[in-house]
């Protein structure tokens, strides 16, 4: 009877001569294309970086150097500040394989709460400002709780809250703008992020841009250097595997949406400075621009991979195309068309890179 027990050993006797490496790779000199694929797999931010450099070089030639004007570069940075901030929030969510369609609405709602409290109700800024940020945090928290507790798809949840927050914007603001002079009188602090530091040669740096870079650096650190960040990636990669590895998936997800909401609140503050007023109409397009920046920056909509640096590149690419195309004097529709094409190319490349393992 013990013959059976040794059955597999007998059948596998031929293995004695087999190589003993644990499944070594069959490396028959990968083709150049395959090498490029592997390179991008290991360095996903290389793609947006290359696109950015190529775009800058082309526009520098086409516009005859105007593009590189100190003022123009400053304007580009100021323009991409909001998109980059919202993109940073969006990156966090998209890495978990979710999406947050409400980032733009949260940003505007937070700015309106701050402005309304400070100007119309004359609440001291030391209170109005944190309450505005808290609004962003709570909006994000609500998204996170709906996604985890009710187990609804993030797309549906945030489509709904986008609409709800949008209605709140109109309700709270009565569709009225709080004007610049009123802000100057009651709460100049709320406008502070729009202030510009001259750096010579006509170039300037907006305070909001500095804040954006600081926020991005902080989120980068959180994503790449802390356990929380590893968990965010693991959840987007395979949430079931993450759960079995002992990660508290729901806690982490709620945290991600709440942080994203807070970042939108911060963006709301920068928005006031950038516009110079508190407007309920601010940034209808901010939502899609932020998603565009994230996607062009190489973050996968399927979750598990992506980076803040990529998103910053993505936002800059959008800004560079905007500025470059308007400097060359072409119809703004071409900008829209180009960005659309870039999105499709970025996602196609992402799919291709994913297949490196298959």
């Amino acid at each position: 009877m013990s013959d059976d027990a040794t059955g597999s050993a007998t059948a596998e006797r031929g293995l004695g001569n087999a190589s003993h490496g644990v499944a070594s790779f069959d490396e028959d000199a990968p083709s150049p294309l395959r090498r490029i694929q592997q390179f991008f797999h290991q360095n996903p931010t290389a793609i947006p970086a290359i696109i950015l450099i190529v775009a800058v070089v082309i526009f520098a030639f086409v516009t005859g150097g105007k593009f590189f004007g100190a003022l123009n570069l400053s304007l580009i940075l100021a323009q991409v500040t909001l998109i980059a901030l919202l993109g940073t929030a969006q990156t966090l969510v998209i890495i978990t394989a979710g999406i947050d369609l409400s980032v733009g609405a949260i940003m505007v709602l937070s700015s309106i709460i701050m402005g309304k409290l400070a100007v119309d109700y004359q609440v001291p800024v030391v209170l109005a400002f944190p309450i505005g940020l808290l609004t962003g945090l709570l909006c994000g928290l609500a998204n996170g709780i709906l996604v985890t507790a009710l187990k609804l798809p993030p797309f549906i949840v945030t489509l709904g809250t986008w609409s709800i927050y949008g209605a709140l914007i109109t309700l709270v603001s009565n569709a009225a703008t709080i004007r610049s002079q009123a802000l100057d009188q009651f709460a100049p602090f709320l406008k502070s992020m729009g202030a510009r530091i001259p750096v010579g040669g006509g170039a300037f740096l907006m305070y909001g841009s500095i804040l954006m870079i600081a926020v991005a650096a902080l989120v980068w650190y959180m994503l790449s250097r802390t356990a929380f960040g590893r968990h965010v990636y693991a959840i987007g990669d395979d949430s079931n595997a993450a759960r079995l590895s002992g990660i508290q998936v729901n806690h982490t997800l709620v945290g991600v949406y709440a942080i994203a909401g807070l970042l939108c609140g911060i963006a709301g503050w920068v928005l006031i400075g950038r516009v110079g007023a508190v407007s309920p109409l601010g940034n209808q397009t901010a939502n899609l621009d932020a998603i565009t920046a994230v996607v062009i920056g190489g973050t996968s909509l399927f979750g598990g991979r992506g980076s803040i640096v990529g998103t910053l590149f993505g936002a800059l690419i959008v800004g560079v195309f905007d500025s470059g195309l308007s400097l060359t004097g072409v119809d703004p529709l071409w900008r829209q068309l180009t960005v659309g094409a870039l999105i499709i190319i970025a996602v196609a490349i992402d799919q291709w890179i994913r297949r490196v393992s298959a």
Binding site: A227, D237, G246
Partner: protein, 258 residues
Amino acid sequence: MSEPVLEARGLTKRYGRVVALDNADFDLRENEILGVIGDNGAGKSTLIKALCGAVVPDGGEIRLGGKTVSFRSPLEARLAGIETVYQDLALSPALSIADNMFLGRELRKPGIMGSVFRGLDRTKMQKIAREKLSELGLMTIQNINQAVETLSGGQRQGVAVARAAAFGSRVVIMDEPTAALGVKESRRVLELMLDVKRRGLPIVLISHNMPHVFEVADRIHIHRLGKRIAVINPRDFSMSDAVAIMTGAMKPPAGVEA
């Protein structure tokens, strides 16, 4: 006969009207590999999920080292020293080997960088990961920072086993560890299991592959209709007997009935 490390008495679990576990018992002793076999639907995966915390049983008792435990999540089972290698491995493909080994139990930097800034001690984690993989003879994997998705099936299994062996202090549970592997890779994983056992960790092996179970198991737990119907010694029974008991074609002989 050594003391049971992990035992269960009278476990029950119902899913609606389906009874997955019907008063099931279970015993794992020190220094053994316990094979668990059973037909599809016999309830063996529910049994294993109850032991590793993925399922909370409706009734019954689980004792680890003589102490009653009740796990509400895989994390709690893991904290108690039960490591599980899941059939689909529970690895995060885009993360590196080192990240995966420490997923959910990352080490932080000493001092203020760790306590306040929550910084990960990546150097130390990579060092430990490399050590653990070397101990199990798995360092043909070139680069500890390689993404798991670039590894072959056998290498991934190796990472999952190394993770379980490195962190399991009481029990390692392996669910179908050779199911997705080729002949050569399966052989390597069986050797890994014997190696882990030699290091003093008992293993629960759930498998459909009879030759593999009969080769490495010290005892075989046969599950049928939601309960343990026999525990046999693979040296006393043939594979066909085991299959006959498992499918109900043969009554479990006296003396091995559970």
